[in-house]
């Protein structure tokens, strides 16, 4: 793949549409598209979640772009890579993050998608607050 990959990385405060993102990474040369969708679950460690809030640091927009760039650079066969993360208040079943990667063949698409999911989790300066049905809340991963 000598052509520059198509990259699309953003944080959005509205509903994420998987099909629209798949459309962004599709072309007549993509033989494989891998996607990952992260959703708000009803139960977390057995407690019932009613609502979830994602808050992003100012640098998150820059970082999500760097993540997309770095993963695509590492998987040189990737034709297009999209990473979209939601912010704001979400409900059960809402989509929190979508990653989509396309390539001529399956290995690059699957590999880039899985790595981008991992990188989003570890590198993106975004925080998640869960509100439970007993009225308490917690910032996930914080003491």
């Amino acid at each position: 793949m000598s052509a520059q990959p198509v990259l699309h990385a953003e944080l959005v405060d509205y509903e994420i549409n998987l099909l629209e993102i798949v459309g962004r990474v599709s072309s007549s040369e993509s033989g494989a598209i891998a996607t990952f969708t992260g959703l708000v679950r009803e139960l977390d460690h057995g407690r019932r979640v009613t609502e979830l809030e994602y808050v992003a640091h100012d640098s998150a927009t820059r970082v999500i772009g760097e993540v997309a760039h770095d993963i695509a650079a590492k998987h040189s066969e990737v034709m297009a890579l999209a990473i979209v993360h939601r912010t704001g208040t979400l409900r059960i079943g809402d989509v929190a993050v979508v990653v989509a990667a396309s390539a001529a063949h399956r290995a690059a698409a699957l590999g880039a998608c899985a790595e981008a999911v991992e990188a989003v989790k570890t590198l993106l300066p975004v925080w998640k607050r869960q509100v439970f049905d007993d009225g308490t809340d917690e910032w996930v991963n914080s003491p």
């Binding site: 640091h57 640098s59 989003v120 300066p125 975004v126 925080w127 998640k128 910032w139 914080s142 003491p143």
Partner: protein, 81 residues
């Protein structure tokens, strides 16, 4: 001596009870000890696991001397995705 604008995020903000505060300090270490003194053990517990950005750059040396006005962001562990 520098003027440090400390910005709290997520769990750190919840523990501090404020979005930001300004303190005068010579180093990041001194700044942390002041805000932990001001805000109590709840914030101290969170800060222990936070990463710190000084004017947008990861802090590596807590003892580097500061001057002028700087911004210190207190970032709890990320939880995206």
């Amino acid at each position: 001596m520098a003027r440090v604008v400390v910005r709290y995020f997520a769990a750190a903000r919840a523990a501090a009870g404020v979005d930001e505060e300004t303190v005068d300090a010579d180093t990041v270490r001194e700044c942390l000890s002041m805000i932990e003194g001001n805000r109590g053990p709840g914030l101290q517990r969170v800060i222990r696991v936070c990463s710190l950005l000084l004017d947008g750059v990861q802090v590596r040396d807590l003892d580097r001397r500061l001057s002028g006005t700087v911004e210190l962001d207190v970032l709890p562990p990320f939880a995206g995705g």
